[in-house]
């Protein structure tokens, strides 16, 4: 307070100071510059420092806040999941599971059918979306001229497409199959179509990035040898970018493998193992987690070995299996990208 006041005083007194100066030294009229004027007051500097520290604290706090849910999600799935996660859980389906009663095999039902369903449906989605996504990326990078309006709008729409709500993707697949196969058609492949709608944008984006970092010299060298454009792309460009594309595809799979909403309405829910992708209902792991979450069982006295919390326990165990699959896929994707990365800087 006082220092600031002093500062103001010096400014106002300044004019008189200039007048006084020539009185002392008559021959030289040197303006006296009051450098104190430019000094920041101590309290002001302290306030700035305090704000700086405060904001730093807030930013670190934001990070800590974000870690809480992550740790909590992982911890609770592991702690609750391991209770029922055993070989029996992984090797049986839900056939013959009645209420909370144990099955003849000694377990309480399992996720074998859901794992098979997840793998088949995701594989189906991959078969549809990888060729389309990859070729679209090839078009955008290799064929579209710079500033081409059509290519620009495609690129924009791919971005927009990546924001389609998953439930709308499910409705789309449902509508498509209702038009083709009559209303109420449900099969695993329908789920694959829904998932591929969500997967294509991710594949296009990552492949596009990877194709862009392939050095231009390689293409020119190939053209100089008289190789056709198609061969250059398939044998040189795609081969160079392959590790990146593979890791991108794996990350895209990791994204869609956990989708639930579109599969609820397209692939349905079955308690038995269905290996036919093209007919009949099929269960996937996320749908299994949800179905067990909403399931309630009651145990009456006299039912030996009945566990009334079994749906929750199965739900957590299936969630843990799902998390493990997703994390392993992520890890593989990153390792592939890291180990086989194109060295573009020479």
């Amino acid at each position: 307070m006082t220092e600031e006041n002093e500062n103001k005083n010096t400014i106002s007194v300044d004019a008189t100071a200039v007048k006084k100066a020539p009185a002392k030294k008559k021959d030289k009229q040197l303006p006296v510059i009051d450098f104190d004027r430019f000094k920041t007051s101590r309290s002001y500097a302290a306030a700035r420092k305090r704000t700086d520290g405060f904001m730093k604290g807030l930013i670190v706090l934001a990070f800590v806040i974000a870690c809480v849910p992550l740790v909590s999600v992982l911890w609770s799935s592991i702690a609750e999941g391991v209770k029922r996660l055993n070989l029996n859980f992984l090797s049986f389906n839900m056939t013959g599971v009645i209420g909370g009663m144990p099955t003849p095999s000694g377990g309480y039902g399992g996720v074998l059918h859901a794992i098979i369903g997840t793998l088949e449906i995701t594989l189906g989605a991959m078969v549809i979306s990888v060729p389309i996504g990859l070729m679209c990326a090839v078009y955008l990078v290799e064929y579209a001229a710079r500033g081409n309006k059509f290519a620009k709008s495609i690129s924009l729409l791919v971005d927009v497409m990546s924001g389609i709500p998953s439930i709308v993707a499910g409705l789309f697949a449902y509508s498509m199959f209702a038009i083709i196969g009559g209303p109420g058609t449900i099969n695993g492949f329908e789920g694959s179509v829904a998932l591929s709608l969500l997967m294509i944008p991710t594949v296009v984006k990552t492949s596009e990035e990877m194709l862009k970092i392939v050095p231009h010299d390689l293409r020119e060298a190939s053209y100089a040898l008289g190789v056709s454009k198609q061969r250059t792309i398939t044998k040189i460009v795609l081969r160079t970018a392959l590790p990146g594309i593979v890791s991108g595809v794996i990350l895209a799979i990791a994204r869609v493998i956990g989708e639930t909403a579109p599969l609820l309405m397209t692939a349905g829910y079955a308690t038995f193992t269905n290996v036919n992708l093209f007919s009949g209902e099929m269960t996937t792991l996320p749908v299994y987690v949800y179905q067990q979450y909403i399931l309630r069982v009651t145990c009456r006295p006299g039912m030996d070995g009945c566990v009334d919390t079994i749906p929750m326990e199965r739900s957590w165990a299936a969630a843990l299996v799902l998390i493990i699959i997703v994390l392993v896929l992520n890890l593989i994707g990153r390792i592939v990208a890291r180990v086989f990365a194109v060295k573009s800087d020479r």
């Binding site: 704000t51 904001m55 730093k56 930013i59 934001a62 806040i65 974000a66 870690c67 999600v73 609770s76 609750e80 060729p131 389309i132 990859l134 679209c136 090839v138 078009y139 064929y143 059509f150 709008s153 495609i154 924009l156 971005d159 927009v160 497409m161 924001g163 389609i164 709500p165 439930i167 709308v168 409705l171 789309f172 449902y174 509508s175 498509m176 038009i179 109420g184 709608l197 296009v204 056709s228 198609q230 061969r231 398939t234 990791a254 994204r255 956990g258 989708e259 639930t260 909403a261 609820l264 309405m265 996320p286 949800y290 979450y293 969630a319 799902l322 998390i323 997703v326 994390l327 992520n330």
Partner: protein
């Protein structure tokens, strides 16, 4: 014969790989076009399936809607509260997530040591990789009981504001809890987009600010935030788009209601479009029930399409 073929080949060397070239080019163009066709197909197929809403027997449509919600008598009265709930929940989660994710992005780009920063980026990506059904499970079984006392406290001391009007529901299967879970889910996308923008801030501008004696926060305020403004806006729009379409977490946590209500701490007030579709779908009647749900899905599609479109337009402009 063979020599003739050889000479023919040599005379037109351009022919090698020409057909392959054309075929490959056609496939690439087709794949590009397919993206456009797919997006149009999503719209058209949904419209086609929702057609009974407009072209069907209106009295049956009304009866069906009244069986969903007795208070609603036509489609717009039905979709209105749902759209309101969707926007309310998403905006709340965006408000919750926004400052935290900007903080994390700044922490990763400007505060953390380099080695720690790469590790933190992985952690953020990990958050994004966890399936939504697991967030729903966690929210329903872990967060709902844990956060109850906190909402009670909020209702006790902030209950005089309309939005936090008590008594807080127990279990707290409320909009407030759902917004917290959705905030956790959209946090990674906002963080990663804004982090990328912050890292692109011109080094010279930052050094100039420091050189003029700015503190670190002042440097961020002067150089980083203005530079990243459009990026931050589009990142939040993307997060909003994600929150608008989220189904499972809402479905597994929220106790549904169909009111235009801002009472965040009370149960059975709002519902979102996506969760409503998933909840009603299994029991919906094929002739009129499903078309109505698909109609609501179409509304959701249009909303998210617009939000995403605007977000991408903003980033596109910023990049040029």
């Amino acid at each position: 014969m063979s020599s003739q073929e050889k000479t023919a080949d040599l005379s037109s060397p351009k022919n090698t790989g020409k057909t392959g070239d054309v075929v490959f080019k056609t496939i690439a163009y087709a794949a590009g076009t397919l993206i456009l066709v797919t997006l149009a197909a999503v719209f058209l197929f949904l419209l086609f399936q929702a057609w009974p809403l407009i072209g069907g027997d209106q009295s049956k449509v009304t009866a069906q809607i009244e069986s969903f919600i007795p208070a609603a008598h036509n489609f717009w009265q039905y979709v209105g509260p749902l759209a309101f709930g969707t926007v309310l929940v998403s905006l709340l989660s965006l408000i919750l997530a926004f400052f935290v994710s900007i903080g994390i992005a700044l922490f990763i780009s400007h505060y953390a040591p380099k080695k720690l920063a790469t590790g933190l980026s992985y952690v953020v990506d990990l958050l994004a990789a966890i399936p939504s059904v697991i967030y729903g499970l966690w929210g329903g079984l872990v967060l709902v009981p844990a956060i109850g006392p906190f909402w009670n406290w909020v209702a006790k001391y902030l209950g005089w504001t309309y939005i936090f009007q008590g008594p807080a529901a127990d279990p707290s299967r409320t909009v407030a809890t759902v917004a917290v879970v959705l905030a956790v889910m959209i946090l990674p996308i906002i963080t990663s987009v804004s982090r990328d923008i912050f890292m692109q801030t011109p080094r010279l501008q930052q050094e100039a600010a420091i050189g003029l004696g700015a503190t670190k926060w002042e440097m961020i305020k002067l150089a980083v935030l203005p530079f990243g403004k459009s990026g931050i806006i589009s990142a939040s729009m993307l997060g909003l788009g994600r929150a608008l379409g989220e189904t499972m977490a809402v479905l597994m946590i929220l106790s549904p209601g169909y009111l235009y209500s801002f009472k965040l701490l009370q149960a059975s007030q709002n519902m979102t479009i996506a969760a409503n579709i998933a909840a009603q779908y299994p029991e919906a009647d094929q002739q009129y029930g499903v078309p109505i749900l698909i109609g609501t899905g179409l509304v959701l599609f249009v909303i998210t399409f617009l939000v995403n479109f605007v977000a991408r337009k903003i980033t596109e402009k910023a990049n040029v």
